[in-house]
Structure formats: C-alpha cells, structure tokens
Assembly symmetry: D4
C-alpha cells in the first residue's frame, strides 16, 4: 500500500499519461485480459488463471505471459485440452486430471507442513484436490484424508492421526455439509469449510451444505464459496505460512 | 376407509340432511373448531390440540369436549395459562413446562419400548421434549439423550449405549442440523430428523438445518417440519407400535 | 459402535501405521472410490452405488468389487450403458429401465410384506419404481398403486384395498405434492413422502412438492429429499423389517 | 374506457387546470387517501377500505366519505375499535369479528346464488369468512363448508352435496394447500384457491400453500395472494354475476 | 361424486377384484400412462395430453386411445415430430406451431363467445396461443390482442374495443408482469393472469412476473402457474360456459 | 480523488500519527459515530443521518455536530421524539411527519426544477415524501403526483401534464410495482424506481415490487433498494443538477 | 402523451376499424413481432431488437423493416450468424463480437460526452461493451475503464483521471458486485450499477451482485437487471443528453 | 481425540453406568444445560455462554459453574441485567455494553499481537466489538479500525498503517458487504469476513452481505455466519496463536 502511495506521489505525470492512453482504447482492444505482474508483490503469489469459460488458446496465452515474469503458475478448472495447449508452450507444465489444474513450478522451495485436506465423499474429490494443489504451489506440503463422511464415523476417526498433525484443516463436503462441524469439535486448529455442489434435489446446487457450514455449532470454522477449492487452499497456505 | 364407504352406503339420507343443515350455518356460528371424535378410529389416537394461537379458554373448551369421548388428551405449544384453564376443568391434567404440553392419560397402558430421542443442544430441548411426550401419550416408553451435538462427539458417543437400544431414533437439532447424518451412520434403525429453528443469521429460521437433514448422506432418515416435535413423536410411536 | 471402540482399543498400532500409509497417498491415487465392505455390518445392507455422474466403467468396477464380498448389489440412476458394462462382468445382473436400477441378488430370502408404494402421476414412476426396487433388494415384497393423484380421487380410492394392507406407505408425487396428506388421513401406518421434480414453473424443481409434504396436515408423515426414491425405499424396508 | 376517453376529449381544459392545482400540493396535504367515487362505474363496486395499518379515525373518515356517494361499504381487516368508530357515524354498520369486516348495505338486492366457500382448517376461517362477506356485499348468496381439510377426507366428502351446487368454489387452505387440487378433481366449475399463512416452519408464511396451489394437477384453478380472502370473494362474485 | 359413490355402492365386489389384479402388476407393466376415459364426465372435457417429456410414439399412442372414446383431443407442448406421429394415425389432427398444440375436433359446436386473450410481448405468444387453442377446443370463440405491453400503453388502449367485448380476459405477460394489473383496472370482468418465463436475470424463470400478478392492486385477478397457457384457457372456458 | 491523493502526498507524517493514535482507541470510545465533515466536498452534500435505530439523543448530538460545519441537515426515518430533541438544539429544524424527516436549511438557494415524484398508493406516501424532501434539501423543486396506481389508469393519465414537465421521474410503488414500467413507456426522461414494502403475503416485504421493477420492459429505468426514498431523491437531484 | 390523446380524439373511427380487423387475426398470423415505428417519437430512439432467442432470419427481417423508417438500428445479444444475415441486407451494419451487438448508424451526430463505463473483471466485458455500444448509438461518446475490480484498488485508482471526467458512470461487476459502492464514494455524479451473472456457487446467477448493488452504502446509485448492459447504456445516455 | 479414546478404553465400565443413569432422566431434569469442563482441553478455551434467550439467572448459574473449573469466562449477547446477575456472584466480571459481552479473566497472559478488526459502519460496531473482545479473552491483543466503509475510501486508506501490522484481519460489514473484498486486495494475510444484519429492504437480514463476501473476488477470505462476531474473533485468535 505504501508502495502504491509512493508510486502515486513520485510518478504521477507518467501515470496520467498512461491512464489517458489506456482509457482511449475500447475494451475489446485490450485482449481478453490484463495480466497483472504486480500481484505477487501484493499478495505473495502470481496471478492465477480461472480456466472455466476460457478457450485453450486464451489459457495458453495467459500462461506464457505470466511465466515470462514469474516462475510459478496455476490454472484452475482446466480441461485436458487446455493442458495440451499449455504444454506445447511450457514443457514443464503438469496436469492433475482430478483437480483439473495445470501447474508450473520452476522454483521448488522447501514446503511448509501443516495443511490437511479432508474430503467427505469421492464425488467431492475434484474440489478437495484443487485445494490441495493450490496449497502445494503456494509452498506447502499437504496431507489428504479421503472418503471421511460423517455417516461413516469410523473412517473419519481412522484419519485422526493425520488430522491431528494439521495446523489448518480444509474440510470439503457436499450434501448436508456436516464434516466441518464434526472436525471443528475434534481439533484445536482453524477449519476452512468448502461446500461442494454435490447432491441433488434440496441440495440446491450446494446451498444446503453452504448454510450448514455457516451455521456450524463448532467455533473456529471459516467458510468459502461453493466448490471454491482454490480459495480454501489459498487461505490455508496463508495461515500456515504466516504461522 | 371401508367403514367410511359403508357409512356412506347405509346412511346417506341422514347424512344429506345433516350436511344440508350444517352448510346453511355461517362459519362463525360453528364455534372455534369442529371436534372430531372419530379420528381415534382412523388414526389410533384422539384429536390433538395445537395450542399456539388459541386462548386458554378455547383450549380448555376443546379439552373438555375431547375428554368426554376419550380417555387421553394432548395439547401442544401450551402456555402455563392454558394449563391453568385446563386444570380447572380436568384435575388430572399434567403440564411439562419444557415441552409446553398438557397431557391427560386416564388409561395407562404398558408402554412399548424402543423410542430414543436425541437432542443436539440445550436450546433444542423444547422440541425434543414435545416429541418425547407425544410418543409417551401414544403408549411408548421413551429414553432421552441430551446435549449430544456433533461438535462434542465424545458426548454423543457416551450416549451410544442408550441409542443402541432404540427401534427408532428421533434426532433433534438446529443450526447445521448434522446430528441425523452422524446417527444414521451409527444405527441400523430408522432415524426421524427434526430440524429446529434454533440459530441465527444464515440459519433462516431453521431452513439450514432442514436442508441439511433432507440431504443427509446416511440412508434411513425421514424428515419432519421445522420444530415439529409432535409429528416426530407421533411417527416414532407409529413405527415402534407397528413393529 | 462397541465393535468400533474395541477395534480402536486392541488394534491401535496397526491402525496408526495403516492410516499413515494411507494418508501419504494423494487422493487421485486412491481410485475413484473407497469401497466399504463393512457397511452391511453396520446398516444391514451392502454399499449402494449412486450411478449418476459415474462412467459405465466406474460403475462396473465398483460392482465387481462389491460382489466379491456381498451377494447383493444395487446401482441407482443407472443408464442402459452402465447396465451393459455390469452385465459383462456379472451375468445375473438385472436392469429396470423405468427405475433405472441395476440389481444383483444372489441370496433370495423370503420377502417381508407390508410396503406399498403409491404414485401420483405417470411421470413420477421412475422415482416410485426406484423406491420399490430398493425395498425389494432389501428383502421386502412391495405392492404398487399407480396414477393415484389427488385430482382423480376415485382412482386413489380404488387403490384403498391394497393400501390398507400396508405396514408402511411410500407416497410419491410431484407438482403440488398433496398425495401424502390425503393418504396420511386414510391410513394408520407411517407414510414416507417423496417429492419429485416433476412439474414446471413455480414447481421450482420439486420445491413446491417438498414444502407441501413437510407441511402436511396429517400426522405420521416423514419426508425424504426430492427424487430420493432410494432413500424412501430404504427407510420403508427398515420400518417393516424392524416391525 | 370509452367513458374515460370521452372525458378526456370533452373536458380537457378543466382537467388540466384541476391537475395543475392538484400537483402543486405536497402529498401530505392531500389527506390520507384520495377517495375514488368513480370506481363503482368501472368495476361494479365502490371503493373498498383495506383497514390494516389505518387508525380507527382514518377508517371512519373514509367510510363516511364513501357512504355519501354509495349505498354500500366494505372495510376489510378491521379491528373492533375501527368498527366502533364507524358505528358512531353509520349506525347501520355491521361487524363480523371472524372475518374482521365492517359492512354497510343500504340497497339490499336479491342475491345471486352459486358461490361456495370451502375452508380446510378452523385457523383458516378468518380468510374464508372475508371471502364470503365480500361476495355477499357484492350481491351473492354464499354457502360455506368448514373444516374440510384433505387429511379428513370423509368430512370433505360429507360437504359434497353443498359443493355440487356451486357455480364457483372458493377453496381456502394453509399448510400444504392441497384442498384446491382435491376439489378441482371433484367439481366441474372454477375453483379459486386462497393460500393462507397458517402453518409454521417450512410453511414460510404461506409460501408452501401458495406454491402447491399454483402447481395444482387439477385444471380450472386460479390462485390469489396469500390470505387474500377479499380478492377471492371479489373474483367469485364477478364470475357468478357474469354467468 | 354421487356417481362415484353409487359406483362404489353397487359394484364393490368387481372393484375389489379389479383393484387386486391391478395392484399386483409392477408399475412399469402398466404402460406409460393410464388413460382416463371418465374424466370428461367429471370435468366436461376429455383427458389432455401434456406432451413435454413424452416421445412422439407415446403421444400418438395416447391420442389414439383417447380418440376411441372421445371426439375431441388436445396435446399441449407438442413438437412437430409428435404431430407427425399423431397425423399418421389421425388424419384430421391439426398443429399450431406457435402454440405447440395438436388438436382434433370431430364434434364442432357453436362456440361460446367472450374469451379475449391479451399478450404483452411477442415472446409471450406461445403461451398466449396455448391458452387460446385450449379455450377453442373446449367450445369457445376467442379474440386475441397481441403485443400489448404496458410500456406501450397506446397499443394496449388501441386494443380496448376488443377487450371490452370480453366476459373473461386472459392476460399473458413475462418480465415485470404488469399487464393484469392494468387490465384489471380497465375491465369489469374476471382477469386470468398467466406469468411467462420470458425474461432474464432477476426474472428468475418467471418468478418476478408471478409475484407481480399475485400482488396485483386490481381486484378480480386469478393467477395460474408460470407458462400455464393451458390452465388459463381451461379456466376461461369454464367461466364463460358457466355464465 | 486528486484532493485525496494530494492530501496523502503532502501530509503523510501527520496522518500516520493521527491514524496511529486513532487506532489505539477501542471502538466504543469513539462515540456512536464518526462525523464526516468532508463528505460535502466529495459528494456535494453533507452527511445525512439515518435515524432508524438511533435514540433521539444520538440524533440530536449528530445534528449539532453536523450543523457546526454545514448549513444544511437531513435526518431520515426520524420519529417525532427525535425531532423534539433536535428542535431543542436547532430551533429552525422542520419536521415532516409523513416523510419522517427532519430538515435544517440555512442557505436557501434558487431550486433547480425538473424532479417529479409519482406515487402509486396512499400507503406508499412516506417513501415518496422522503424522496421529495431529500431532493428539495439538495436544492431542487419537486412536483408530486399521488395515488397514481396502474389499476386506476385515468388518475395516472390525469397526472400527465405534471409528469411531462419532468427531467427525471421518481416512481414509488409497492405491491406489484408496475408503475415504473407504465411511466417508462410514457416519458422520455430517466425513471428512478422505488419499490416499497407495502403489500402482504407474496409481496415478501417488497421483493415482488423490486423484481418487477428490475424486469421492467421499458428502458430508462434505474432501481434503488426497497423503501429507499432517500436514495431515489438523492439520485434524482444529482441528475437534474448535473443536467 | 398529448399526441396519443389527440390521436385518440381525432381518429377514433378509423382506429376502431383497424383494431377490429387486427383483433380478428390469430396471433400467429401477425408475424413474429409488431415493429413499432413510433417509438422513436416517444422515447427518442427507434425500436431495439433483443436478439436472444430469435433466428438470424427473424433478426434480419426486423432490421430491414426498422431501417425503412429509421436511420439507426441496434441489435443486442446477436450472434455472428445473425450479423451475417443482417449484413446481407444492410451492407453498412457493424458487429462488435465482444458486445455481441449489430449497429447501423446512417445519421452520425456530434456525440455528447460524459459517459464512462467501468468494468470490474474481464469476464464482465460483454455486458460493459453492450452498455457502451448502446450509449454510442444513442449519440454519446463513451470512455472505458477495464479490469478495475475492487480487489485491485490500484488499478481502479489509476482509472480515476478518466472516471473524473464522467457526467454519469456505468459500473459493471459480477461476483460480489462491490464496484458501484466504491465508485459511488469517489465521484459526484450518478452511478448506474449493472450486476452480471459472472461467478459460480453462491453467486446464484448474479443474485449476489444484484443484492450488493441494491444495498450500496454510497448514495447516488441506481441499479438495472442482471446482465442488462443495454438498459444501463440507455439510461446513461438519457442522463447525459438531458443534462 | 487420543485422550478421548484412552478414556473410553480405560474407563468403560464406569462410563456405561454413568450413561445408563443419565439416560433414564428426562431432559428437563438435567437443568438448563450441561456444562462441559473438558472443552478447554480439546479446543484451548473453556465453554462460552451464548447469552441470547437465556435469563440473567441462567447465565449467572452457568457462569459460576464454569468459573469453578476455569479462570476465564466469556458471555456473548448479554444484557445489562445479565451482567448485574453475574457481577453479584463474580465481582471481577467486566461488561462491554457495545459488544454486549461479560468477561472474567483471572489469568492475564502476555497477549499475542496481530489481530486487527476493521468495521465498515458505526452500526456494525456491536459485532466488531464482540469479535475483538473474543480474541482478547483468548489471549490476543487487538487493534481496531472503525467506520472504514468502502464508500469512504480515504477513511479506509487512513487506517492502512494499522491494518498493515495485522497477521489476520477481521472485516465486519453489513449492507453490500464489500469491505472484505477491498481489504483482501490490500493485505497479504488472511481476512475473516463477518456479514452483519445491518441494512433494510433487499439486505434480507444480512443475506446480501453474506453472499457478497462468499463471492469475494479477492483470495484469502473466509466467511462466518451473519452477526457472528464471536466466531470471527475465535478463528482469528486461533490463527495468530497457531502462527
């Protein structure tokens, strides 16, 4: 912020000119997105590409532009086709077909431990994996506990040795969304709750799980948007790295 | 049903006359409610009085009318004032201030065991007690497990010896409404889920708990209306008595 | 539950090791689902496969894994293609194209009578049939009454001789969802209400029927999720078998 | 309409002047309501006063103003206090405490028969009576069938001799709102469905009943707003008088 | 109804047998729908086929079955393919591509006048035409006023000469659904309001228009379900024929 | 904005110190509100006090603080008691009991004409008057047209001579909220639509009117929050003064 | 309006005849839309074609009909195919693939400056461009600021030199819809807020952004329907041209 | 968890007996709440009392019971009357009338810095203060920035020197709920978003702010329930103490 204010102070004339030039252009001449190379400075992580609704070509173009300035890249909700397009231009890109993520990491660091991602049902895996991959690219090591729905309590309890090692737990669940409440009562660390759109009928696209998580009777639970594995992994990484 | 059809067959003329006479009267001359002495024949239990929104005098009047034909009575959502009015006319009436019920039982029977009512939080007790009292007046013995919210799993597990004796479990919870899902995974008997309006904010008057229960990932769960302890106790009694 | 606690007591070391090994694997290496061979012990019925959103190959794989340990199998929301894939590996599988179910039953038992499934309109048949098939594979014999919507009361009444034999009634209806209320007033046994998504406009995907059923003025009604024929059949079987 | 257009044609100058004068006045100088003596010409019935939210004095003032030009008056949602205030200035006013209506009828006409108001539960009576009183003051005779909820089908059937005389049926119900669907299947005449706010929990203030009625599987059903007994009675009177 | 009760009285034995036989059959053996030849007796019009979601073959099969007993037929929401299939078996069938209706009328009667269908926008035409065709096959002559949205008041006013001939007005509108309110203030006859799903964004599939129509400040308005042109035409025909 | 950036540039040190001091204080030591004397510079109008939920003493305190720096004041949703408290400290304050506003204007300017506020029903007057008073204190003259609901089209048309003088129309309506659509089709100037919470049942606290206005088929309509007369008057004044 | 009334006065006979002839025609004979050549007189701009849901042929037909009477045309939500069809018949048509608009402007005028369109994210560009193109065809020059989401405040601030030139700001944003609130605090001119359907999960198709904008804590904000770029551009042009 | 399992292992017999005894008691004999002295072991903080809906006597009783085992206590949503009752039995209790909290802290520890609570409007102060008090009793020092709504960006920016010291930011806002999005773009630490019910009309009791926060375009934001200051403070303390 101070950098921003300083920039305004020292460089106003140039800025005005740039802004004026910029604003004369119609939107559609800007290309499909402004790539923001400065975000890493502010938020500790370079621009992430939300792949849904973008063509493979658009995604590959954005990826190349970002990799010119950064040694890490994350594309979420990416199809296999998008991966193919990126791979043609960045041969070290990696694809996770469950998480639907494309990752490039040219600056491996010693990962910070403490993120555990717990997943209620197998249908919730794509969202859980997106959370895990996000935390990993941000520099964390992630442990995972799958198929730990509350209706099979013994499976959840069998995961406790792993869960107890967590500094932050990401709890991913659809349907009735009860997992964060049960976990919140078992651990002493923050729980990030991710409702998923898994379900039908009165699940209303994840609304039931979302409301359940917001009303959790266990304290220490923060909630992100439906299916927002990226947001949960990002927040989890912030917490363990700030710790 | 056959009794109904037979009645129509054999007694039509009289019925027509009665109906004609009846329908000439404006609604407001009918008094505040038609008392239906025949319901016990059809449903196995006499008319129940829903006390909310009725004056103590109305409740007492209905109670007296019902007790002329039946040896049992249940008033739900009854205030202490309503109880006082009923007691003046039926000295054996009993009041449960938590359940807010008035009960008269002049034909004690040997109770059928197997109903267990489990309650997530202390604020859910009025609804849970209404369920328990309802099942009791219908001829069941009821065991109760209180304060067994899913965020305090050890308390719920400590109630398992009782819960395992159930032929049907009534699970009462507000807020995130996760209790029926956890119970549904632990028992082999039907679970009747009762959402309560306990909560605030995004609980939306019990909607969050209701949706969670409808989306339970555990099979064997049936849901009743928000705060409908009576309906849950009634259904539970039907199940264990039919067993 | 006691078995679970005993297991924890006696086998902790091994469990820790297994859990540790397990949790090192990323989710996507687990295959598409953990198959839970112990569920039958807890809930009286082996794992059921929810076919929607799974490929025929995934369904066939899960089916084979389950049939190694169990002599019964139920796949719901299964396409004809999924059936073909299962049939290639389990030649005694049977498909019901209306219910969209795949069933294998290698241990025929003498069925328990008492489940009656009543269906309001012909469009509700898939859900009604799913309920019936589910109760049958769980060991019940099921009677069926079709096209008994409340706007054609004579048809509903003509079904009464069958309905009166029920120990539990499953009432399936879309649109205004009035069937459970009318049935609840005619029978003395539990009614399991299943709203369906049949309708348009202000039906809001079954919400209208769901709300109507939750607000039924007849006691003794428990409600399951929209289109959840499986859940209704499962609960009905629990009730008649527990009886 | 032609009268309106004619008025515009022949009297524009005067109108312009009146409008100009009128629009100079701030709203609050207009008094609490413009009384519209011309509405009877357009709609066949003089202005009706919606009593809710108005003081007894305001209601009495409006009543007097209306009665100067008309020989009929209807005040809906009127308290006993409002009636007292009106009675002091119109000694022939009549109050119906269930319908909460004040009526003055100084031009009794031979009533047109054919309106039947059917009411599901005793709690729905105020709305049903408002409908009946409205149709009566508009010149109809009204027959009434009370306590005819669908969960007590025999009571509804016992009302059929009256209902069969209807040219239009007004069906009033809260909770699950199933009455219009059942009636719609039994009669050959229009059914006006009135949802009421009677219920609790997932009734959501009458929304459940409203949605059920809009989704009625019986044709020939038109729906009015929740608790809008006046609107239903008005529409019913229009239909039988137009017949 | 009396016919029904008589039937039950005189023919019970046969009925029991038929019912017993019927209920032994699984649902899926019943064919895709029970055709109800008796509905015309009760409701004055033979069974209508709701074409949406049915295959051309199913529609043609139902059409043939109905035409064996009736000289009129209406299929709504029918595709051109469905029409082709029906035409092959009923050469006098007629198709209206805007209304998406198939009609057979082998008993032309002198039509009853008085139904006027008013349509707000050109996108609402399919629903408006379905209403008009429905009223016509039920024996009414229908006048139509198109493109009479309230934002173009002069066009609505130019339609007044036609609208003033109405005994009942069907008002069809999407988006803000204001047409019935404006019409209700201009005419002295019942207005049947039909919200359509035309709109986007905060129209929420017709919810905005539906709510507006239910809250109409003009009395004499009854509302049907979103896009339910059939229901509106049916109700309009009932009203003018009963008149 | 430039003033802001300049301020940051030239005065940073002092600001830092002030901020540091400020942030040491707990919230509750700040008094009940920070009064912002600079808002007039940015938005052309001094701070407005939203009176609802504030005590008369709080309102009077805020009023005095504001009047030390400004010669105008507006308090909305003010009770008579609040006015009394303000009057004791500002003897030139004026109260409008319908608009529920307190106004002090010590710098009368020649008002800018062109705002017309049109109101559908008498119950909508408080919101309409709040809009008018707001535009007046911001320096506009306002013309008013009351009781111009769309169901009484002749009254709306009789207001056209006034409405045609508008440079911006504020249209206030509850219930079905159709007024902005009709007005939008009659005038060539912007229409600011204000839904009110007037209505009952399916009005859902103004939601019906809000949705109708957002879906207006007439272009040139902008919508503000339910009952937000202040916002509409403020926006209208901005438009005519910017013109 | 006076023109309308005059028209009614002087030309009634002819009008009646025309109306009578018109109303005899069934809807479907009217063609797919009445083209209204008089709208430009009333609203200052000729009929706009809403392209969504119309075939290229329908669009081209409407375009030709409009261009016979007008020298400007705007088609919104137009596909490339629709453009091709229009181009074949109007060789000076222009297509904007981001805005999805077809424009013909045969009467270039000196544009009125003062409209600034600000866009939160690149996914919101189609709606923002539709707003810009609409204001341009109505005779305004438009400046644009892209990718100015509130989470990247420095980018928004860098656009301030342009934004400060605005007489009206159109603020387009999806997701949390915060842009209009931030802008409303920075500028002294009206802000037209356009929520977009960009987002997922709890965005509910733009509902989140819509509610946020309606609840803006900044005064001077008017809201249009979700994705309604056309409406916002139209209203903005009205404001600056009326100024 | 291990402690729990160990407890089950070693002490089962006694537990069974206790449970059996316990479960025989009806709910209402348990007193108004079970006090859980073990929660501090599991979650790092003793039981908190949610004061809303409890009588002063109940709150004082719970407070005494808790203070027998713990040296800290927090009561939220406490009235002045509740404080008086607690003070009579714990003379070192302190009350914060804005936060509505009662606090006893008999074990002052050196507070952990890093929590900053930012509040959008003065009406949001009670929720913000509840968050701050909660974090303080859990052992944190808290800095506060008040009245930092996004429509007054300069005030928010003036708070940046404090905000930049945060390890976690709690952002409290009602109405459009934009504060967390703006903050999320300015800081590199986790943001806990708390929607409040402040607002009216389309705020729908805080729903607008809740949805906005869930849809925040800034990553690193976790959301708690509407008005849940306690939950936000609890989660913030967990994060900084775990750091």
């Amino acid at each position: 912020m101070r950098a921003l204010l300083d920039g305004v102070k020292s460089g106003r004339v140039a800025e005005d000119e740039a802004v004026a030039a910029l604003s004369e252009l119609p939107f559609q001449d800007l290309g499909f997105a402004k790539v923001d190379h400065h975000r890493a400075l502010r938020k500790g992580f370079p621009e992430v590409v939300f792949g849904q609704g973008k063509t493979p070509e658009q995604i590959a173009g954005l990826a190349v532009a970002l990799l010119e300035k950064s040694d890490r890249l994350l594309v979420t909700r990416a199809s296999a086709g998008a991966f193919k397009a990126v791979l043609a231009r960045a041969s070290d890109a990696k694809y996770d077909p469950v998480a639907r993520t494309i990752v490039v990491n040219r600056r491996p660091v010693r990962p910070v431990p403490g993120v555990v991602v717990v997943c209620a049902g197998t249908s919730d895996l794509p969202v859980a994996c997106e959370a895990a991959v996000t935390a990993e690219i941000m520099g964390c090591s992630v442990e995972r506990v799958a198929d730990a729905g509350v209706a099979g309590l013994h499976r959840l309890l069998s995961g406790m040795p792993v869960i107890e090692r967590a500094k932050v737990v990401v709890a991913v669940a659809g349907m009735e969304g009860a997992l964060p409440s049960v976990l919140g009562g078992l651990v002493k660390v923050p729980v990030i709750a991710v409702p998923t759109s898994i379900g039908y009928g009165a699940s209303f696209g994840g609304l039931a799980a979302l409301l359940a998580m917001l009303n959790s009777c266990a304290p220490g639970v923060g909630v992100v948007n439906i299916d927002n594995g990226f947001g949960a992994g990002y927040l989890a990484a912030m917490i363990v790295k700030g710790a």
